[in-house]
Symmetry: C2
Subunit: 429 residues, 2 copies
C-alpha cells in the first residue's frame, strides 16, 4: 500500500460522540494523515434513523445497514459508538472477524462481554482500543496498559461518573437535596432523562471493572463489582461529612487485598478534604493510581461530553491506524495473573455510622459494645444531645464490611436505637 | 525465537535510578516476562567505578566498558541512565546502530540532540522511549504521543521540577528566604550539592522543549526555550503573590501563539490559588494539557526519585520489549508541522510589577503613562504609602514581553522610581 492509499474507517452510531468523531475525521484530515502516515477515509456511518437531519454530515455516508457496514471486508477500522450490549456486541465481533481493528467507547459491553471480544481480537490478530470507555478524555487506559506496565499497582481510586459528581457537588455547595440536584443536572444536560445507569452506580461499576482488569492484569467483570449509587444519599449524610471535614464522592475503588485477591467496589464515600480527589469539581472525573514504585499519580479531566470523548476516540483511531500502517498490533489484553475477587463482605474500609438513640445512661456503652462484639474498633465518637434523643456519629477503624453490617444489624434491634442507621464508607486508613 | 528465549537488556549507569531499575528487573522478573511475552535478561551494567559496593547487584554484571556493552550486537534493549550529553550521546547512537531499542531518562540530551537521536533511530528502525525524561513517574510522554494524538493541543503548562517546587513551597509556607529553603532542600535530598541545573531553570527548560515537541508535532530544542530560574525570587515576591491570592511556581509554558508559532518558556510565575496547578505540593510535578476537544487535563505525581523514575523506565522497557517480541515499533517522533518559535519578546503574558516610588503627586500618573506609551493596559494597581516612599503593585492585562520590558526600562529611568523594578508573570487571561 502506498502512502496515499487511504485506510477505510466505518463509524457505527452518530449521536453526541459519533457526530463529533465524524466532524473531526473530516476537519482534521490533514493532521490525521500526517500522524498516521496514510489518509483516513470515512466510508460509512451506520445510523438508526436515516431521515434525521445531520448537519455537516455527507448524507451519502449514512446507512441503516450496520451489519453490512461492520462486516465489510475492505474496512480497516470500525468505530463503535452505539453503546449498550446488542447490537454493539455482534457488530464488533463481525468487524473483528472481517479483520478490522476496533475502537469503542462502550464500557457496558466491555464490562460484561470483554472476555469474548478480547479473545476474538486475539484470534483474529486485530487491535481493540477503548480509551473513551473510562473517564472520557482522560488518558487512563493507555497509562495503565503501557506506562505503568513495569510497575506493581496496588490501588486505583476514581471519580469516574460526572453526573453523580455534579449532583453531589451541588448537594454540598448549594445545600440541595438529591432530587433537586438531579433535576438541575438534567436541565443542564449533565444527566440523562433516565438517569438510572448514572445515579444507580451501574456506569461507574462498569468503568471500575475495566480499570481493575487493566491495573491487576486479571479479568474483572461487572458482576464482580460490589456497587451502589447515590440515590440514597441524604442531606444529613452531606452535613455529617462536612462536620467531619469530608465531602461525599461516588468513589470507585479497586485494590489488592492482603491475600492477593482484588476488591472492586463503587460506593458513596466520605473523602477527607485533604485528599486530592476531594476537590474534583462538577462534572469532572479523576483517577488516582497507587503503585509500589511510581507512588501516587492522579489524572484529571472532563469525564464526558461529545468533544472530550471524541478526542479519546480519535487518539485510539490514530494509534490503531498507525499499527495497521506498520502491519503490527498494540498490546493485547493481559489477564495472566488470574486473581480471585475479594468477597464484598471481606473488603476492609473505614465506616461512618449515624444513629439516633435515646439520650439516657448506658446507651453509648451498649452501642460501643455492639461494635466491640464484632471486633470493630472505633476511631471517633461524637454525641449530640437533642433533648430526649441524641445523635451518635461513629467512625470505625478499618473493618470488614461483614463485621460492620453485623454490628449495625445488632444496633438496629436495640430498643434504644431508632431503626434505619445511616452507614457510609470513609476513605483513608 | 521461542517464548522462553530471553530479550537481552543492557543498563548504562547504576546510580539512584539505575540501581532501582536493576533491582526491579530482577525482583519482578516473572511479572515482566508475563507482560512482555518473553523473559528479560539483564546482561550487563556499565558503571564508572567498579570498586564501589553495590548491594543486591551481581558483581559479574558490572563492567566499566560502556562502549563495549552498548554496542553488543546481541543486546535487544539498552537503558541509558547516565545523564548529561557525553558519553550518553555516543553510547545511544552506538546502541541504535547495533540494532537495539533505547530507553532513556536523559532530558538534557533529548533537548539538545533529540533530532540526531530520533533520526538515527528512524534510519535503523528501532524504538527510542523516554517517559522518564519528563516529570518522573507521571505518564505524560505516552499520553501526548498517543492518547491525544487525535486532538489539537493548544497549551501545555507544567510544574516539571520538584526541587524548585519544594523550595518555593517552603518560601510560601515557612516564610523562608531562597537561600535557607535551598539549604533545607539539600539537607532533605531534594536538591543536589550543585543545584544550578534545577534552580537555574535549565532542567525545566529541557523538559519544556520535549513537551512542546510532542504537543505540537514540531522540533523544539533547548535553545528555543526562553527560561529563567528561581534564584532571583525574593521573599517580597512571595508576599506580593500572597497578597494577590497567588502562589509563585516555576511554570513551564508551551503554547500555540496566534500566528501558529510555538511559545516556550520557563519562568517564576504567580499562579492564582484557584488554578489547579497552584495546589501542587512539595516535590510533586503536575502537567496541565489544554486541547481543542479534550478540554483541560491534568496529570500529577512524584516528579523525581529513584523508584518513581525507575517505574517510568520499566514501563518503557516493557513497551519496547513487547514491540520487539512482535517484530514491530512504536510511533516515531512526529515533527511534520515544522512550526516556528515565537520570539521571546513577542510572547504574551500578564505581568506583575512592583515599584518603589516617591510618595508625591503625579507619580502614579507618570507610571501609568509609561505603560500606556507601550500600549500595555493595566488590570489592577495597588498603592501602599510608606511615608516618603510608596510601593506600587501593578498587574497588566495580556501584553507582549517586549512591551512590558520597554515600559519597565522607561520607569527605571524616572527619578521618582527606585531602580530595580521587580517583574513577574501572572498566569491566566
Amino acid at each position: 500500500m502506498g502512502k496515499s492509499t487511504p485506510l477505510k474507517v466505518a463509524l457505527l452510531g452518530c449521536g453526541v460522540v459519533g457526530s463529533q468523531v465524524a466532524r473531526l475525521l473530516i476537519q482534521q484530515a490533514d493532521d490525521l494523515r500526517a500522524r498516521v502516515g496514510r489518509p483516513l477515509q470515512l466510508v460509512g456511518i451506520a445510523v438508526r434513523d436515516l431521515s434525521k437531519p445531520r448537519p455537516g454530515i455527507d448524507p451519502g455516508l449514512l446507512t441503516d445497514d450496520a451489519a453490512g457496514l461492520a462486516g465489510r471486508a475492505d474496512v480497516d477500522l470500525v468505530i463503535e459508538l452505539l453503546g449498550g450490549i446488542e447490537p454493539a456486541r455482534s457488530l464488533i465481533l463481525a468487524a473483528i472477524e472481517a479483520g478490522a481493528a476496533v475502537v469503542t467507547a462502550n464500557k457496558a459491553l466491555l464490562a460484561t462481554e470483554g472476555g469474548t471480544i478480547f479473545a476474538a481480537a486475539e484470534a483474529a490478530g486485530v487491535d481493540v482500543y477503548y480509551e473513551a470507555a473510562v473517564a472520557g478524555a482522560i488518558p487512563i487506559v493507555r497509562p495503565l496498559r503501557e506506562s505503568l506496565v513495569g510497575d506493581e499497582i496496588t490501588a486505583v481510586l476514581g471519580i469516574v461518573n460526572g453526573t453523580t459528581n455534579f449532583i453531589l457537588d451541588r448537594m454540598h455547595t448549594e445545600g440541595s437535596d438529591f432530587a433537586s440536584a438531579l433535576a438541575e443536572a438534567q436541565e443542564l444536560g449533565y444527566a440523562e432523562a433516565d438517569p438510572t445507569a448514572d445515579v444507580g452506580g451501574y456506569d461507574a461499576a462498569a468503568k471500575a471493572s475495566i480499570l481493575a482488569s487493566l491495573a491487576f492484569h486479571s479479568r474483572v467483570g461487572l458482576s464482580d463489582v460490589d456497587f451502589e449509587g447515590i440515590d440514597a444519599v441524604t442531606s444529613a449524610d452531606i452535613d455529617a461529612a462536612q462536620e467531619m471535614g469530608c465531602v461525599v464522592k461516588l468513589l470507585a475503588r479497586c485494590a489488592l487485598s492482603a491475600d492477593g485477591s482484588i476488591a472492586v467496589g463503587v460506593h458513596p464515600t466520605m473523602v477527607p478534604l485533604t485528599h486530592p480527589l476531594a476537590s474534583i469539581p462538577g462534572a469532572y472525573n479523576a483517577i488516582m493510581v497507587e503503585s509500589r514504585n511510581a507512588g501516587r499519580l492522579m489524572f484529571m479531566g472532563p469525564g464526558a461530553g461529545g468533544q472530550p470523548t471524541a478526542s479519546a476516540v480519535l487518539g485510539d483511531v490514530v494509534t490503531a491506524a498507525r499499527n495497521r500502517v506498520r502491519g503490527t498490533r498494540g498490546p493485547a489484553e493481559s489477564t495472566y495473573s488470574g486473581r480471585a475477587i475479594t468477597p464484598a463482605g471481606a473488603v476492609a474500609s473505614r465506616y461512618y455510622a449515624s444513629l439516633s438513640v435515646n439520650d439516657e445512661p448506658g446507651v453509648l456503652a451498649a452501642v460501643a459494645s455492639a461494635f466491640a462484639t464484632q471486633s470493630v474498633s472505633l476511631q471517633a465518637v461524637r454525641q449530640e444531645s437533642l433533648g430526649e434523643r441524641a445523635r451518635l456519629g461513629v467512625v470505625t477503624h478499618l473493618a470488614r464490611q461483614e463485621q460492620v453490617v453485623a454490628a449495625v444489624a445488632e444496633l438496629d434491634r436495640m430498643p434504644e436505637v431508632t431503626p434505619g442507621i445511616s452507614l457510609m464508607r470513609v476513605e483513608g486508613a
